[in-house]
C-alpha cells in the first residue's frame, strides 16, 4: 500500500518535472529565435549565413557594422536586462507572497532611475558611476520601505501603500531633474526614462552582464529555498532553513540585478511585474519558477523591442510597448484579486 502511493507521488513528481523542463526548453528556444530576429532584422535584412560570419569575426562591409556595433549590443542589452527584470521581479513577488509587491509598484525601479538620471543630467558622469548610483539608490529604497513598513503592525497592504508613496516622492525628484537638466540632454533622458535598448554599447553592458552571470545562477540554485520561504516563516524554520540569511541573499541579488538593468536600459516598465505571474500560469507549482520567469523576461523585452521597432510607422522604445501591455494586466489582476476578496 505504502509502496504504491510512493510510486504515485514519484510519478506525479516526474510528470511535473517533465512539464517544467519542456516549458523551459520551449521558452529558451523562443528566446533564441527572438535573439536571431534582433540580429537579422533592421533597415537592411541580412541572411543568416552572413550574420553568422560576422559573429565569427569576419569583416563583411556593411553587415559588420550593422550587426556587430548596433544589433548585437541591442540584443545583448535586451537579453540580460530581460533576464534580470524577470528574475528579480519574481523573487520579490514570491518572497512577499503578493504579485503586486514588485519592483515597479514599490518604487524600487523609480529609485534607481532617479539616481541614474541625477548622475546623467547633473554630473554627466561615466557609466560606472551611473550604475553604482542606481544600485545604491535601489538598495536604499528597499531599506526605506522595509524600515517604514516593519514594526508591530506589519501588513503587505501597508507595505504596498508605502511603496506607492515613496514612488510618488521619487517621481517628483525625476520631474525636478528633467526641469533643471540642460535642453540638449533631455531627449536622451526622456527616452532612457521610458526604457529603451537604443544606443546600447558593448562596453556599457559589461556591469550588467557580470552581475547577471554571477547572480542568476545563484538565484536558480536558491529557487527551492525561495519556494519554502513562500510557505511561511514557521514552515521554513521547521524545515531547517535559516530564513533571515536566505532572505537577505535573495533580496540583495534581486535588487542588484534590477538596479544594474535599470542603469543600462532604463526602467523597462512592468517586465519585473509580468514575468512571475506568467511563469506561474505556464509552469504551475512544484518546481522553482526562477528560471522560467527569467526566460519570460527575456522574451518579453526582445519581443516588445521588435514590435516597437517594426510594427509602427514611428519607432517606439521598448518600455512604451511593455507599459501598454503590462498596465492593463495589472488592472486585470487587481480586478480579479478584488473580486476574490484578496485585498
Amino acid at each position: 500500500m505504502i509502496n504504491s502511493s510512493t510510486i504515485l507521488i514519484k510519478q506525479g513528481r516526474q510528470r511535473r518535472f517533465r512539464k517544467w523542463l519542456v516549458i523551459n526548453i520551449l521558452l529558451a528556444a523562443l528566446a533564441v529565435a527572438l535573439c536571431m530576429a534582433m540580429l537579422l532584422l533592421g533597415n537592411t535584412i541580412y541572411p543568416i549565413s552572413e550574420v553568422f560570419q560576422v559573429l565569427m569575426g569576419e569583416r563583411i562591409p556593411g553587415a559588420y557594422f550593422a550587426v556587430n556595433t548596433i544589433r548585437l549590443p541591442r540584443m545583448m542589452a535586451g537579453l540580460f536586462a530581460g533576464l534580470a527584470f524577470g528574475m528579480g521581479g519574481h523573487i520579490f513577488q514570491t518572497m512577499l507572497r503578493n504579485p503586486l509587491a514588485n519592483p515597479d509598484v514599490l518604487g524600487i525601479t523609480t529609485g534607481s532611475s532617479a539616481a541614474a538620471l541625477f548622475s546623467i543630467l547633473i554630473f554627466q558622469t561615466s557609466n560606472t558611476v551611473v550604475s553604482l548610483a542606481s544600485v545604491i539608490a535601489g538598495l536604499v529604497t528597499v531599506l526605506l520601505i522595509y524600515l517604514l513598513s516593519s514594526g508591530s503592525h506589519f501588513s503587505i497592504g501597508r507595505l504596498i501603500l508605502i511603496g506607492i508613496g515613496i514612488q510618488a516622492a521619487l517621481s517628483a525628484v525625476i520631474s525636478y531633474l528633467l526641469m533643471v537638466g540642460s535642453q540638449q540632454d533631455l531627449p536622451a533622458a526622456l527616452r532612457w526614462l521610458s526604457g529603451s535598448l537604443n544606443g546600447a554599447k558593448m562596453e556599457t553592458l559589461l556591469p550588467l552582464i557580470c552581475t547577471v552571470v554571477i547572480f542568476a545562477p545563484l538565484l536558480i540554485v536558491l529557487g527551492k529555498q525561495l519556494d519554502i520561504l513562500e510557505l511561511g516563516e514557521e514552515s521554513a524554520l521547521s524545515l531547517g532553513l535559516s530564513t533571515n540569511k536566505i532572505r537577505l541573499i535573495l533580496i540583495l541579488s534581486a535588487v542588484l540585478m534590477i538596479a544594474f538593468a535599470t542603469a543600462t536600459t532604463g526602467p523597462i516598465a512592468f517586465v519585473a511585474f509580468l514575468s512571475g505571474p506568467i511563469a506561474k500560469r505556464l509552469v504551475g507549482t512544484g518546481f522553482s519558477n526562477v528560471l522560467p520567469a527569467g526566460l519570460i523576461g527575456i522574451n518579453l523585452v526582445l519581443g516588445a523591442d521588435l514590435i516597437g521597432q517594426f510594427a509602427f510607422e514611428v519607432r517606439y522604445p521598448v518600455g512604451i510597448i511593455t507599459g501598454l501591455v503590462g498596465a492593463p494586466y495589472l488592472l486585470y489582476l487587481l480586478i480579479r484579486m478584488n473580486r476574490k476578496g484578496y485585498l
Binding site: L100, V105, L148, S149, G151, H153, S155, G157, R158, I160, L161, I162, I164, G165, I166, A168, A169, S171, A172, V173, S175, Y176, L178, M179, V180, L190, R191, S194, A269, F270, V314, Y316, P317, I320, G323, L324, G326, A327, P328, L330, L331, L334, I335, N338, R339, K340, G341, L343
Partner: protein, 301 residues
C-alpha cells in the same frame, strides 16, 4: 522686492518702474495659485467624504492623469491650444477616470478600502501615462507644449485664465458648502443618512461630480498638481476635527495657502529659475501619504 515697491506696483497704475512691472506680473500668478489651491483642497475634501477614504486625492486616484491624457489627445490630434478648450477636455477625462478607478476600487466584498482605491488609481495612472508617452514621443511639438504643463505650475497664469476658471471654482465651492451638512450625515453610514432624510445616491453623485470637476478645471489650466487635497484636508482635520461644515471651507483656505507657499518656495529654491509648484507639493505630500499609510489600522486597509 520691498514692501514699498509692492505698494507702488499695486496701487499706482501710472508707475512704470521695473518693480511695478514685476508686481503686475506676479499679481495674477498669486491670485491664480490661491484659486487653484482652494479648488484642489475642496476637491480633496469632497472625494475623501464621498469615498469615506482618508487617502482619496485627485492625484493619488489618477484623476489628474486622466485629465492630462485628454488634453494631450486634444493637442496631438485636434490642434487644440486655448485654455477654454483645454478645460472641457480635461473635465471629461477626469470624470471618465474617476468612474473607472472608483468602479475597480470598490469591487468585491469589502467595498472600497484605502489600499484597493490607491492601487486602482496607481494602475490606471500607469496605463494612462504610457498612453501619454506613446502619443507624445513621436510628436516633438506636443512634447514642447506638454512638458512644462505636465509638471503642474501656476507660472503661466494671466487674467484670462482666472476669468475662465472662476465660474467653475465659484459654483463648485458653493455646491460643496451647501452639501457639507448632508455629507456629515453620510459619514455616519448610508442607513443613518437616509434616516436623516438625505438622498444618499444623489448626494454622492453630485459631490463626486463637483470634486472631479474642480480638479479637472485646475488640471486643465495649471497641469496636474498633486497632493494638495490630501495635505489640506488632513491638516484641517487635525485642527478642527471631522466636521465637514468646517473642514470644507478650511480646506479651501489651507489648500490655497499650501499651493501659494509651494509656488513661492519653488521660486526661491530654483532662483534664478523656478521649481514648479507641482514638484514641491508632491515632495511634501508623498511623505504625508506614507505617514497616513503607517498609521492606518490593518483592518481598515
Amino acid at each position: 522686492m520691498t514692501l514699498d515697491d509692492l505698494m507702488a506696483g499695486l496701487f499706482l497704475s501710472s508707475s512704470d518702474s521695473y518693480a511695478a512691472a514685476v508686481v503686475s506680473e506676479r499679481v495674477p500668478r498669486t491670485v491664480f495659485s490661491l484659486l487653484c489651491g482652494g479648488a484642489l483642497g475642496v476637491s480633496g475634501a469632497l472625494m475623501q467624504a464621498v469615498t469615506r477614504n482618508p487617502l482619496a486625492d485627485p492625484s493619488i486616484l489618477g484623476v489628474n492623469t486622466g485629465a492630462s491624457l485628454f488634453v494631450v489627445i486634444g493637442i496631438a490630434f485636434f490642434n487644440i491650444s486655448t485654455a477654454g478648450q483645454y478645460i472641457w477636455l480635461s473635465i471629461v477625462g477626469a470624470i471618465i477616470t474617476a468612474i473607472i478607478v472608483y468602479g475597480i476600487g470598490s469591487m468585491g466584498r469589502t467595498g472600497n478600502t484605502p489600499l484597493k482605491l490607491v492601487l486602482a488609481g496607481a494602475a490606471t495612472s500607469a496605463i494612462l501615462s504610457s498612453l501619454i508617452s506613446a502619443i507624445m514621443l513621436p510628436r516633438s511639438f506636443v512634447m514642447d507644449q506638454f512638458r512644462f504643463w505636465q509638471v503642474g505650475s501656476v507660472g503661466a497664469a494671466n487674467w484670462d485664465f482666472i476669468a475662465i476658471f472662476l465660474p467653475f471654482l465659484v459654483s463648485g465651492i458653493l455646491l460643496a458648502f451647501i452639501m457639507a451638512p448632508s455629507l456629515n450625515a453620510l459619514l455616519l453610514g448610508d442607513e443613518i443618512a437616509t434616516g436623516q432624510g438625505v438622498r444618499t445616491g444623489l448626494l454622492t453623485l453630485v459631490s463626486a461630480f463637483t470634486g472631479v470637476i474642480l480638479c479637472g478645471a485646475v488640471t486643465a489650466l495649471a497641469g496636474p498638481i498633486g497632493f494638495i487635497g490630501l495635505l489640506a484636508t488632513h491638516l484641517m482635520r487635525l485642527i478642527f476635527g471631522p466636521d465637514l461644515r468646517l473642514i470644507i471651507p478650511m480646506s479651501a483656505i489651507s489648500g490655497a495657502s499650501i499651493l501659494t507657499i509651494a509656488d513661492v518656495l519653488g521660486r526661491l529654491i530654483g532662483s534664478p529659475g523656478e521649481v514648479e509648484a507641482g514638484i514641491i507639493t508632491a515632495f511634501i505630500g508623498a511623505p504625508v501619504l506614507i505617514l497616513l499609510a503607517t498609521k492606518l489600522k490593518v483592518r481598515s486597509l
